[in-house]
Symmetry: C2
Subunit: 113 residues, 2 copies
Amino acid sequence: MSDKYAENVELFKALSDKNRLMIIDILSCGELCACKILAEFDITQPTLSHHMKILCNCGLVSARKEGKWMYYSLNEKAVRDFTVFLQRVTSSKEDCICKSRNVIKHGDAQCNE
Amino acid sequence: MSDKYAENVELFKALSDKNRLMIIDILSCGELCACKILAEFDITQPTLSHHMKILCNCGLVSARKEGKWMYYSLNEKAVRDFTVFLQRVTSSKEDCICKSRNVIKHGDAQCNE
DNA sequence: ATATAACATCGATAGGCGTCTATCCATGTG
DNA sequence: CACATGGATAGACGCCTATCGATGTTATAT
């Protein structure tokens, strides 16, 4: 409950790679097998495995094994929670950290007193 | 126009740091002087300068100099464009890259044919 | 002019990250 | 059982990055 920042930093990190961003985009249209995803990129299979692990560990992507194939899909709830967090961080609100600390007083942002 | 992914990866990278995420949160309530921001963190002044440069370079934050003080504020349009991009990437759409390439056919995500 | 305060820049360092090759595990097929 | 295939893991390499102290720059104050 305490450190929403540290939690969500993991999600931002997971999306801080062009390949992973494209993987998310592809998965947004539906579940896909790993080999289908791999066919879209100029990376090796271990590299894709590495990226999928990062996407799964942060909760954005869900994995399902069927036989010898791995199926990946977007975790809709994680996506929703993440967008809500981004919305909160980038908009003014009552419980902002700038208000919970009396160091900062908006309205007199000046440094001279 | 072409590579929206690479562009937005820079924004995700910029937000992939707890300190920078908190800076954005603080700035969401209004413009602030650098020294006021610095007072909120246990980092040195050069480190804050480094973070602000990253946030400015990606377009999320605007800087304004007044005398010897630097004032930083959120770039509302950049924030809006970013959230729109995130929304598009994480939701199914007509012009998804998975559709523009006939390699992937959703509905038969299976690997065996 | 000189001192001081607010920032930026430089250079160094320690750790993290994307990628690869090599290898292993699990599953399916003859 | 032997073998092929999908995928994960381990280790290595090069690059990037967060942080610091030291120094430079600019503007205000005396």
